[in-house]
Amino acid sequence: MDFLSEHQPEFLPGNRQLPAVKGAIEAPHGTTIVSVTFPGGVVLAGDRRATMGNMIAQRDIEKVFPADEYSAVGIAGTAGLAVEMVKLFQLELEHFEKVEGAQLSLEGKANRLSTMIRSNLGMAMQGLAVVPLFAGYDVDRGKGRIFSYDVTGGRSEEHGYAATGSGSIFARGAMKKLYRDDLTESEATTLVVQALYDAADDDSATGGPDVARRIYPIVTVITDDGFRRLTDEEGSQIARSILERRLEQPDGPRAALL
């Protein structure tokens, strides 16, 4: 990163001159990302829709990326900038690991991402914000952790569950009612897909499971064994079983009243 800023500063997102524009630029936006911790790891998942104004720009965009072996980033906001930010973030973690011979701590990674978001503040003010969700397995503490961010790069650690993006309000509501702190891995993956379903239910910019085209949310799990993305088979199985239940109960599982 320092090397890059010295030699080819135009490669860094923060160093670009912005053209003067009036009003918001139309560019594809990614929408909802959710994450849940469970004993032994963390799950990070995202829907597949990108929108541009009221139009669906892409149905099958991928918004969850591995950052390195033990962490992942899910992106909401301007898709082009966010993907570039993730690429640079991945590069930086890998570069550090190779040069130093050791991985950055999870806190270190989270801080680094925070600085990168802050460097994008100028763009964010013009409506091109990037707001990722960072989840990883803390090898030192032996547990999964989630970090959420705001547009200014403010970082806060979330306990239990977190969501970002336009559908996050609805997803968070769903997770609040369904979350327990003794979830198993398979329960946690089901929970995030439930939350994404609820987000898609009420937010037009979030995509639900697309049975006809076989496009289902991307679900990733990070544990002691490292990063793993659920295969299309596993992903579709979770989505289909939820869909099946929702045919009888459109609003999803009920939480106890008291």
């Binding site: 090397f3 890059l4 030699h7 080819q8 490669f11 690429k87 640079l88 590069l91 890998e94 570069h95 190779k98 040069v99 011979g101 064994d225």
Partner: protein, 254 residues
């Protein structure tokens, strides 16, 4: 005003080469071998933390003999070159050939520049291919030339003797345990022909394993896994070697 002594360019270069060779010869040797599933790096290194081998990029590994600070410098330069390339274009566009060229330029410039002392290092840049045919191994001596090697290569103090030994015995399609055994045998031969024992904790071993599911193929082999592989190699008969390799495979998936 004093007139400097005339030194012929031939003599000046020969002196510099001699200086660099002596520096390299002080260090311990290391070997790089092709085996069925990739490329293995083996060297004697008493330190756990200061590595002779390291990862440059997905499929590219680096090995160096000679002066630590000098090759560490080159290693970091290589990682920067590779990461910048991969970020600018694509991960597939980073190749061992490109990297070896950059190293050759750097070493060549330093070697012939009168202002600097020549680097006392000898490098190996290796890239593992999708199939054994795609494997590439380049050896870069101190003067900036490039040698395209096949099968096996040795650099460092006793390199010539070791590479003759390896050339006679190395064959394509060896298992990891077999290749490791051969490498250790080669390294444990002294200049005077006698053999000495190198304990597992003094060995540094790393592989570029083409069967690894991740994009990054470089992996260090340490601790119990190394001991198991050495034992599998020692129990020479083919079956036990196969078994040891299968065991190693399941280990890498953990």
């Amino acid at each position: 005003m004093s007139t400097p002594f005339y030194v012929s360019p031939q003599q000046a270069m020969a002196d510099r080469a001699e200086y660099a060779r002596k520096g390299i010869a002080r260090g311990r040797s290391l070997v790089v071998l092709q085996y069925a599933d990739g490329i293995v790096f083996v060297g004697e290194n008493p330190s756990r933390a200061l590595h002779k081998f390291s990862e440059i990029y997905d499929r590219i590994g680096f090995a160096a003999a000679g002066k630590y600070n000098e090759y560490e410098n080159l290693r970091i330069g290589g990682v920067r070159y590779a990461d910048l390339r991969g970020y600018t274009y694509d991960r597939d566009d980073v190749t061992a050939r490109g990297l070896a060229n950059v190293y050759a330029q750097t070493l060549g410039t330093i070697f012939s520049s009168a202002a600097e002392k020549p680097y006392e290092v000898e490098l190996v840049v290796a890239e593992v291919g999708v199939t054994p045919d795609g494997d590439q191994i380049y050896r870069l001596p101190h003067d900036g030339s490039i040698v395209d090697e096949h099968g096996s290569v040795a650099v460092g103090g006793n390199a010539e003797q070791i590479s003759t030994y390896l050339d006679q015995r190395h064959r394509d399609g060896m298992t990891l345990a077999e290749a490791l055994k051969l490498a250790v045998q080669a390294l444990s031969r002294d200049t005077n022909g006698s053999e000495r024992e190198i304990p597992a904790e003094r060995l540094e071993v790393a592989v570029l394993d083409r069967t690894r599911p991740q994009a990054r193929k470089f992996k260090r082999i340490v601790g119990p896994r190394l001991v198991r592989l050495l034992e599998a190699g020692a129990e020479a008969p083919a079956e036990s070697v196969e078994k040891g390799d299968a065991e190693a495979e399941s280990d890498s998936e953990e």
